[in-house]
Symmetry: none
């Protein structure tokens, strides 16, 4: 595909005219190069990219990527909403609120463009909130922590680990249906990459590789996609984490 | 107090020698000006500052501020741990994990310096995780949302609003003991400020003022403290939000 | 110059009335102190500052700084556009798109204020995208990497290093005319500082000093300028990197 054809496929709209060095380099690098590569599907690249634009608080890129993900059919509305919750956990609710809003607006826009009625959103059933027995919930959180991180779970000795990590992040969010674990890893790697927290970067890059959920070559594509959208400065930390993981393997 | 005396009071260690223009300007501005101002207590300024350094992933400043908060006695270990959880919610778990780790290390360092044994951390009781009846929990989350934001709660129509905002953020975290609502506002304003999310900035700056939890003059001090630690570029967005709130008042 | 005179020189507009402690402290600190210092030109300080406000997604500060850079004549439109592309590479396309948009809007505003016609932007010739022989391009990228980083280039063994770093970042962007290498270093140091990526911070602070492109005293001014706009928490990491570099010198 030419850069313009790929632009159409990825962004689900016609490419705008190139007027500046920024435009020219973007078109050439992003759509002539990055999105065009084999090794990672466009849907996978979207999960990385949506986390990047939401992390950057970039209003128009958020709208453009959300529109493209939904209009292309690569993500359903439910999947897109799960991405928002997962992103909120990893990058905070304030940044996520812009993504949440964008999903609503772009969903309406897509229906309007197609001359379709937007179905009114239904309230979520509270049963969806998961196990209510607290001991069971913490136990499930410990199991999920171990399955995701390939590490023993932390002891519940602080509000951060107890109410946060075990009860909510792994006791509920990672266990929700709607996105599978590999999908959640793609969002998470982008989130820890842009949050630049060293330990979570090592942990999530390493466990994505160690679990086999992402191959080495897929991880390399994730890092390139991330670097294109969040910059090479932060991309280097993901790359270094991948290399540390590989060096640690027997 | 001279800048050096104030440095000792705030940082709980002797001031290092000033060796560079960067050192000189920050000593003069931070400790000759910002921390010295009336209108906001040093403890309040710590809550803003800890969120700033944690948001910046600034390893040494995190350690220095956590040490100072604990060693000065301005924050207890339990309060400091609550700050970490609250920060995790607003800026994401990856950034919070460095803060969590720093609290553990600095707590040990303080005991070591004092020749005291560190008491082993106790596991938190699961009962602390709050109401288990899900309908009741969502209802409490709606009430808390309204009390904090001075706005009607969002309908539970997406995972972000339902499992996230109503169930966890307002149904649990804001309702935890250990920090009062005004304390949580100070942390939150810094968090939304550094996350640059427009709607949450307006909402939290406005509701802190509208609730009377912070006076106008206190808010100005919060914004100055934030700007000193997270930069005037992001500080300006808080200032603009405060001014919009004031302009909206009859 | 008084703070007000300096404000006029730097910002290219009359200073607004000081109404709050935040205004008073920033006026005094930024325009009575930081921009006023010898050791780094105002144009150099702009390159650092523009990267900071763009990194902070700070809408009004972006507009104000872009307007000031163009209206003062310190940066031409072409130079400003090159800053945008360079910033995009280091902090990601989403954040850069707000800067790109601001340049267009402020350029129009300046012409409008002067009663001049805005010349329509010309499409960029594709020849500007550089060498198309891919072996040659990677070779040039390796040379440029070495010249900028004072380190041997990475092997092209991953998409990040191959398609990203060697092909695009050093094979094209750093080699573009429009900004010289020292200009690009000023933008880059601010970008890696705000991204808090440890390896790139050490690498770019060290190579700017090691190459002689920036003297020690100039670097101290860069760090102070950065700290004023992006906060002392992140500024401290740049300062630590500069000190590590100096300690490593024979």
């Amino acid at each position: 595909m030419t850069p313009d054809e790929l632009y159409r496929t990825v962004m689900a709209v016609d490419p705008p005219v190139v007027a500046t060095p920024f435009d020219a380099a973007t078109r050439q690098f992003l759509f002539g190069e990055v999105w065009n590569r084999p090794g990672l599907s466009i849907r996978d690249r979207r999960l990385v990219t949506i986390a990047c634009v939401a992390g950057a608080d970039a209003t128009k890129p958020i709208d453009d990527q959300v529109y493209a993900a939904l209009a292309s059919g690569d993500l359903t509305l439910d999947e897109m909403n799960e991405v928002t919750l997962h992103f909120a956990v990893y990058c905070g609710w304030p940044k996520a609120s812009a993504l949440e809003w964008s999903v609503l607006v772009q969903w309406n826009r897509i229906h309007e463009e197609r001359g379709e009625e937007v179905p009114p959103p239904a309230a979520r059933p509270n049963a969806e909130l998961g196990v209510t027995d607290l001991d069971e919930r913490i136990r499930l959180g410990q199991d999920e922590f171990e399955a995701v991180n390939l590490l023993p779970p932390p002891p519940p000795i602080s509000p951060y680990f107890h109410a946060g990590i075990l009860n909510f992040v792994f006791g509920h969010v990672w266990r929700r249906p709607g996105l599978d674990r590999r999908d959640r890893r793609l969002v998470t790697i982008a989130c820890v990459g842009l949050s630049d927290a060293q330990t979570p970067i090592d942990s999530h890059v390493g466990s994505a590789l160690g679990s086999g959920d992402l191959t080495w070559d897929e991880m390399q594509e994730v890092i390139l996609q991330f670097s294109a959208y969040y910059g090479v400065a932060k991309g280097e930390a993901l790359q270094a984490a991948a290399q540390r993981w590989r060096a640690s393997q027997p």
